[in-house]
């Protein structure tokens, strides 16, 4: 890709970007949120049309490069370019097989399901992604769904696979597995563009990488000859501090106590088994575990989204039995949800509506029935300002902001709502708070959480980033199959120990 220019209203998203990937290579594409990574790849996939620039692809017939015009997603498929989106494009109520053939124009009236099934199984074996073609999508885990997305592209004979932050939704184990798969695909001659924020993965998986910043090329490097620090500097344009200091204050009163909590999910499977955990004011408790071992349910119980079948929960010493979500919020519980687009925000509502979701009931905003518009505007503008949310204005729809800015909205709302309403017990339940964020936004979110903690909040931090957990937690609870296996002091545990515990072993 050469000299690509793409304008959005008011901004130049891509400014003469060149991007060259060799055949059979895993090529990392890095940059902060809004640097233009996804936009560049959307141009390659025919989702956006560039204002200027040319795209050349390898032509196996003439064994040379040929200029191509990709103006629709269908063109991209014909050219052998396939994209695995961050948010999967799968039909939940259909099977793996049906999803794979979706949108393919066949010449036959009758679909030969057996042949297709064999093809899919073959493909799966070849690349180490075995999956039952007859399984329905909703039955599959996130990692498996991603494999279906990849298989779907391979089934369409994609030569170039673009993976948009594929590891953001995976556990470390699944991510490693994906890395293996990508290496295998590269050996088979497929070309992979790997978009990510995680520098470890770039170092581990890629051959070369390109860094974008503010829609411009910064550098393309051989991954073998670079370091994490250098890449981070390229991305941010300045030196990055990789260490955030753990708050060093002595813990105060209990803000959260769970005693013998058990939860059964909708299928009647026990998701939490006899959980005892407590969080004190001024303390960050990390929750580690392979995803799907009860962390999600733990966060849901602590925030009142799911009631517990057995056991009891106290927030600031207050028994929360039979309380609604509203009751938990009013007791001083903040919640940064793991799924910020699906749960944390209403994308079609403006930034201002999203910022007041947890405080719209306070007297200043709504004394009686009607909102105090002037107060809301001032409040919202102050939050936008203090939390450095980059947005054209408070009336912009939340879905039009970048991921980092969306997370800042959630963070601002959650931190401020507890402040304004109730002061005594403050619990912040943060689930994957930095997932999918760039280096700058990650640093911002972590330092705000730590700051909250040192001001007396108790934080329950669920994360799949072990380094994050170890860096800022004081104690770490490790979950395995609905149990808390162990609670360890963060300053005397190694990543290997945590890995053992996450696998259900004891130390």
């Amino acid at each position: 890709m050469e000299g690509i220019v793409k304008d959005f209203p008011g901004v130049r998203a891509l400014d003469h970007v060149d991007f060259i990937v060799n055949r059979g290579e895993i090529h990392g594409l890095l940059g902060e949120n809004g640097a233009g990574k996804t936009t560049l790849m959307s141009v390659l996939c025919g989702l956006y049309r560039a204002e200027a620039g040319n795209v050349y692809l390898h032509d196996s017939n003439s064994n040379s490069e040929k200029e191509v015009v990709i103006s629709t997603p269908r063109d991209a498929i014909v050219c052998g370019v396939g994209m695995v989106h961050q948010h999967f494009r799968l039909v939940q109520s259909q099977t793996v097989l049906e999803n794979c053939i979706l949108g393919i124009q066949g010449s036959n009236l009758v679909v030969d399901y057996n042949a297709i099934e064999n093809d899919i199984i073959e493909l799966g074996k070849k690349y180490g992604m075995e999956i039952n073609p007859e399984a329905y999508i909703w039955e599959l885990s996130v990692g498996e769904q991603q494999r279906v997305e990849i298989l779907k592209m391979l089934y369409r004979d994609a030569e170039i696979l673009i993976m948009d932050e594929p590891t953001a939704v995976l556990t470390p184990q699944e991510a490693r597995l994906l890395g293996e798969t990508m290496k295998r695909m590269a050996i088979e001659g497929k070309t992979i563009v790997f978009i990510t924020h995680k520098l470890d993965e770039v170092i581990e998986f890629t051959h070369r990488s390109t860094v974008l910043r503010d829609g411009k090329n910064v550098s393309t490097v051989e991954t073998g000859n670079t370091t994490k620090r250098e890449l981070a500097n390229f991305m941010v344009g300045r030196d990055v501090v990789f260490s955030i200091v753990r708050p060093n204050i002595s813990p105060g009163n209990y803000v959260l106590e769970m005693r013998g909590v058990s939860v059964y999910d909708s299928r009647g499977v026990q998701a939490l088994k006899d959980i005892d955990i407590d969080v004190k004011s001024g303390e960050i408790i990390g929750v580690a575990g392979v995803s799907g071992n009860g962390q999600k349910e733990l966060a849901e119980v602590a925030t009142g989204l799911v009631g517990c079948n057995n056991g009891s929960i106290y927030i600031g010493g207050q028994d929360m039995r039979g309380c609604s979500v509203d009751g938990f919020i009013k007791a001083g519980v903040s919640h940064i949800p793991g799924d910020r687009i699906g749960v944390g925000l209403a994308g079609n509502l403006p930034v201002s509506d999203n910022l007041i979701l947890k405080s719209y009931q306070i007297k200043e905003i709504c004394g009686g029935l009607l909102f105090n518009k002037r107060f809301v505007d001032e409040y919202v503008d102050r939050l936008i300002d203090e939390y450095e949310v980059v947005t054209p204005g408070r009336d912009t729809l939340a879905r039009n902001l970048s991921g980092g800015n969306q997370q800042k909205i959630v963070l601002a709302r959650e931190i401020e709502s507890t402040y304004r309403c109730y002061d005594d017990a403050r619990l912040i339940v943060a689930v994957y708070p930095t997932r999918g964020l760039d280096v700058g936004a990650t640093e911002f979110v972590r330092s705000r959480l730590v700051q909250q903690c040192s001001e007396g909040a108790g934080i329950l931090l669920v994360s799949d980033d072990l380094e994050e957990i170890v860096a800022i937690s004081s104690r770490i609870a490790v979950m395995y199959s609905g149990f808390i296996v162990d609670v360890v002091q963060a300053d005397c545990v190694t990543l290997e120990d945590l890995g053992m515990l996450m696998a259900g072993e004891s130390l």
Binding site: G3, D326, V343, G347, L369
Partner: protein, 370 residues
């Protein structure tokens, strides 16, 4: 040459206006095409419809506003029911049952008007009586709508099916009542209840136009304030846009489903009461000509904005009255009006595509760097 399509981030209001006007123009051209096929002159027909809907300047100068008041008479129930369904749609709750709620409201209002006297509840002042009647209508429509809402919250029964089916149930009850139970014994065999006493009748403004217009405008304004400025409106908005975020934000979703349907059904019921108290003065055949269904179109065309609903209702009522006019004067079926309404919905919703996506022509070869 190729056409490439890409999403717009945000569309300007100017663009929205242009697309909207073009869509409406297309709808009228489509209607004209149909008229052409039937063999009548579209221009003559449209002129006749317009005259039917608003009259002629020479009539106005003589102080005759018959056409305009007729249009407004039709606009009143349409406006109230459109606002009613609009509130529920805002929460993404599909109340297709405004027709039935209107009918139940009319039954409740008529019941009060016919029988309150027997219980000593009749006041000598029409104002008080009409308020009593309206309250009965609101309760009737609201409680009728509450049943599907309850089924939804308790058993997750799809509200589209239940609200729709409840229309038929309501209409059958209504026919049973005025044909059998409440039939006027002095009506010389004609179906229908006795005429209401004079103290149960809404006063008139001009011609057949009655003060229901005030009630309709007030409802529109009230709903606009609720949706735009109130806490309840905020909760409705959040539920409609992302129900998971609403649950997470501590909003009581089930409680709001019940409240909103009570409110939405109550408004539709009010429309029914206003019809019997302002127009027919009895419960009889022909209470509603599908206002509850047309309301769905009106509120979508207005993007659920109460102020827009008030305007679009008048336009649609004008089309209906114009349709009746061409039936009388030109011998054309009045269903031309429905063709036009359908075409408007089709073209306006279709036009949305141009608001949400940008289309550009590209040459076969990528053009050079600009």
């Amino acid at each position: 040459m190729k056409i490439s399509v890409e999403p717009r981030i945000e569309a300007s209001s100017g663009l929205r206006f242009v697309v909207m006007s073009t869509s409406i123009l297309c709808a009228f051209m489509f209607g004209g095409l149909i008229m052409g096929i039937v063999g009548v002159d579209p221009v003559d027909t449209y002129v006749a419809m317009l005259e039917g809907a608003i009259g002629r300047p020479e009539y106005w100068s003589q102080g005759q506003f018959y056409s305009i008041t007729e249009t407004l008479v039709k606009a009143i129930p349409l406006m109230i029911t459109s606002i009613a369904v609009g509130v529920a749609f805002k929460m993404l709750f599909w109340n297709i049952g405004a027709e039935g709620q209107l009918v139940v409201g009319a039954i409740a209002g008529s019941g009060v008007a016919l029988f309150a006297k027997d219980y000593g509840l009749q006041s000598p002042y029409a104002g008080i009586n009409v308020i009593l009647m309206c309250l009965a209508g609101i309760m009737g429509g609201g409680l009728w709508a509450l049943i599907p809402a309850f089924l939804k919250t308790r058993f997750k029964v799809n509200e589209i099916i239940t609200t729709l089916m409840f229309n038929y149930v309501a209409i059958l009850w209504y026919q049973y009542l005025f044909n059998v139970v409440w039939k006027d014994p002095e009506g010389m065999g004609f179906p229908g209840t006795a005429k209401f006493d004079g103290v149960w009748i809404l006063g008139r403004i001009s011609g057949r136009l009655h003060w229901g217009l005030g009630i309709a405008l007030f409802s529109g304004l009230l709903v606009w304030i609720i949706l735009d400025k109130s806490k309840w409106g905020y909760e409705i908005r959040v539920i409609g846009q992302n129900i998971k975020a609403a649950v997470y934000g501590g909003i009581d979703v089930n409680g709001n489903v019940l409240k909103v349907m009570l409110f939405s059904g109550g408004l539709a019921g009010l429309a029914g009461t206003v019809e019997v108290s302002g127009v027919s003065y009895s419960l009889q055949e022909g209470l509603s000509v599908g206002y509850g269904y047309t309301a769905i179109i009106v509120s979508w065309l207005s993007r659920l904005n109460p102020i827009a609903i008030m305007i679009v209702s008048v336009v649609f009522a004008g089309i209906m009255v114009g349709g009746d006019q061409i039936q009388m004067t030109m011998g054309l079926p009045s269903s031309v009006a429905y063709v036009l309404q359908g075409a408007m919905l089709f073209f306006v919703l279709g036009g949305d595509f141009f608001v949400r996506y940008r289309m550009t022509l590209t040459k076969g070869q990528r053009h050079a760097d600009s």
